[in-house]
């Protein structure tokens, strides 16, 4: 039964998008897309429950058996990602942004929901498929729709940011395509497991190493690994707030899964981390991201830009977990995918609330807003504490396992640096909290008229804030699944 509905995970949003285009009714499209995402979430949870403990579900598209046909293959690793993406999409879709993105007139808003659904369909497709070229196609579906979503932001610079994002993303996509081509040349197959099985004899060919280099650089652009992160701060700070929340919570997470899958399943940890010693590049870049991007976040005066730079730093923690290449560190990186999605998604939803009531998220405009919008500001503080990694929040859980993994590798200096970088997070979060609670509002910007955000906005933001605390105290589900996924990846399976 479950393997029959598996394909709906991708097909439902893919078919729902043209339905939205045809129906052209904004209210209907909003509720319809919410229903579709809820169905996807239900399927993802069913899949995750089914494959927990080492199960695998395979679906052959069109009845063509792999390696010739395209195979959808679910294990704990990608079931975890599917659940993560659909859960975040569900919460963010339920956020009532009261009029949609500023650049989209009422009579065109159905197209906005259609593009959103296409983006989800692409992200889920990347995660679910077991075919290398299929990944490229889904990667471009999700990327093209996220360029459109970014360009809908109210500010003039949103379009410019979307253009930069498109140029960078396309270069990354072409690199990925070239890497897949070289792998096809080496192995004569596009099925991921088949590539992994046949790559062994030609592992040391120049073509294979070049393929690895192209794939890693291509995905690193989409993942915004430092120093390829340049598109991210602009894209996140000028996109419509709901879109920033969605992209921050899902798109980079799927890219991270793709990178981990390529490194561990296709090329294998012994080749990548013992022979080529990729960690010699990945570890310094991760540490640089943590320090330079956090440092840049301290100097931002716009809350959205601050959070965007913090995202680059948090991606550094994830790739740090990847470069340890041991079960604890990798599980720390994987659990940070979920934890960061929860806190950053929540924080960007808080930004959307503030933007709706105050009209600006420049720090000067937010002075003293804690008294006018107590609930929104409290959610902001919870998310901020989680970014620092205070015990009792999800951020602490990630950092705990990352530090353990790094210490297991014997990298004491890196462990110390992780803790030091948390101090930088303390500075930029502290700066925001100081402005929101303790600074007097400027005379030129009276905030007496500002009221608490409406329930349709506040509830989703608080769901994520509550999740940031709940999963900070109960780690069985998140870390349990991440640990299992990490062990599966290290064993070379998907």
């Amino acid at each position: 039964m479950i393997e029959k509905i598996l394909v709906l995970e991708v097909v439902l949003p893919l078919l729902a998008a043209p339905v939205c285009v045809l129906v052209r009714h904004p209210r209907f499209c909003r509720l319809f897309s919410l229903g579709v995402v809820a169905a996807c979430f239900a399927i993802a949870v069913a899949l995750l429950v089914e494959v927990r403990g080492g199960g695998v579900i395979s679906y052959q598209l069109g009845g063509w058996p792999p390696p010739l046909g395209i195979e959808y293959r679910i294990s704990t690793v990608n079931a975890y990602l599917l659940a993560l993406v659909t859960a975040m999409a569900l919460v963010i879709f339920s956020f009532d942004s009261r009029g949609g993105p500023p650049r989209v007139p009422e009579q065109r808003r159905h197209l906005y929901y259609a593009v959103f659904l296409l983006c989800i369909s692409g992200l889920l497709g990347i995660t679910i498929t077991g075919d290398a070229f299929n990944i490229f196609v889904f990667l471009e579906i999700s990327s093209l729709s996220s360029y459109i979503l970014v360009s809908l932001g109210g500010h003039r610079r949103a379009v410019m940011s979307a253009f930069y994002y498109l140029v960078m993303g396309t270069i990354g996509g072409v690199f990925f395509m070239l890497g897949v081509g070289l792998l096809y040349q080496e192995t004569g197959t596009l099925n991921l497991r088949d590539i992994a099985a046949r790559l062994e004899p030609s592992l040391h060919d120049r073509g294979t190493v070049l393929a690895l280099a192209l794939l890693v650089v291509g995905i690193s652009i989409k993942l915004a690994v430092f120093p390829l992160h340049h598109w991210l701060p602009n894209a996140y700070s000028f996109a419509p707030p709901k879109v920033s929340a969605f992209l921050a919570a899902t798109a980079t997470k799927v890219s991270f899964y793709l990178l981990a899958m390529i490194l561990f399943t296709i090329f294998g940890a012994p080749f990548v981390f013992e022979e080529l010693r990729l960690q010699a590049v990945l570890l310094p870049l991760s540490l640089l991201a943590m320090f330079l991007a956090s440092g840049a976040a301290i100097f931002q005066t716009d809350l959205r830009r601050l959070l965007a730079y913090s995202s680059v730093a948090q991606i550094g923690y994830m790739t740090l977990g990847l470069s340890t290449a041991n079960a604890t560190g990798l599980a720390g990186g994987l659990v940070h995918l979920f934890n960061h999605a929860v806190m950053k998604g929540g924080l960007f939803l808080v930004v959307a609330c503030l933007l709706y009531r105050v009209g600006s998220v420049h720090l000067d405009a937010l002075a003293g807003i804690g008294r006018r919008m107590p609930l929104t500001s409290a959610a902001l503080v919870i998310g901020g504490l989680s970014l620092i990694g205070v015990p009792g929040t999800v951020g602490f859980v990630s950092k705990w396992y990352l530090v353990s993994g790094v210490l297991e590798r014997g990298w004491t200096a890196a462990a110390v640096l992780i803790l030091l970088s948390s101090l930088l997070a303390l500075v930029y979060v502290g700066k925001v909290v100081e402005v929101v609670y303790f600074r007097k509002p400027a005379e030129t910007q009276p905030i007496d008229h500002v009221r608490e955000a409406p329930l349709g906005m506040l509830a989703p933001a608080w769901v994520l804030a509550a999740a940031a605390v709940f999963f900070g105290l109960t780690t069985n589900w998140t870390y349990g699944v991440a640990r299992e996924a990490a062990e599966l990846l290290l064993a070379g399976g998907i």
């Binding site: 196609v137 471009e140 093209l144 003039r156 253009f163 498109l166 140029v167 270069i171």
Partner: protein, 132 residues
């Protein structure tokens, strides 16, 4: 492998790399957004050509099963060498992706021209610096 050998055996790859770098250079060096899109197109075209050259089998014909009078209704002669059709099929998809990317990039360029009154990146950056 000495240089002449590398050039003669792998000339198609050298050509592709040159084409690719031309595209990438245009994307980086040109300020005009339309020219950037053209550079991106050249860059993508090089990757598409890479797949097409990879599909070529020496002495291979078009991958169409010839009619064999000895086996009517059968699968035809088995000793015919074909070029690999799969990369060509993949590139049909990649070309579609390229067209979609170009269309979107040009649409964004039109919007940028509408908002900034220019298609030059440096002028747009200067406009942003002035107006915030």
């Amino acid at each position: 492998m000495n240089l002449p050998e590398a050039l003669s055996g792998l000339w198609a790859y050298w050509l592709l790399i040159a084409l690719m770098m031309v595209g990438l250079y245009i994307v980086i060096a040109r300020d005009n957004l339309i020219k950037k899109v053209m550079g991106l197109n050249i860059f993508q075209a090089a990757a598409i050509l890479f797949y097409v050259t990879m599909a070529k089998v020496e002495g291979g014909t078009a991958p169409i099963v010839p009619h064999d009078p000895a086996h009517p209704g059968g699968h035809g002669a088995h000793d015919v060498v074909y070029s690999n059709p799969l990369p060509h099929v993949l590139m049909l998809t990649a070309i579609v992706v390229g067209v979609a990317t170009t269309a979107l990039a040009l649409a964004l360029a039109v919007r940028i021209h509408g908002d900034y009154g220019t298609s030059e990146e440096d002028e747009a950056v200067a406009y942003d610096a002035e107006h915030g």
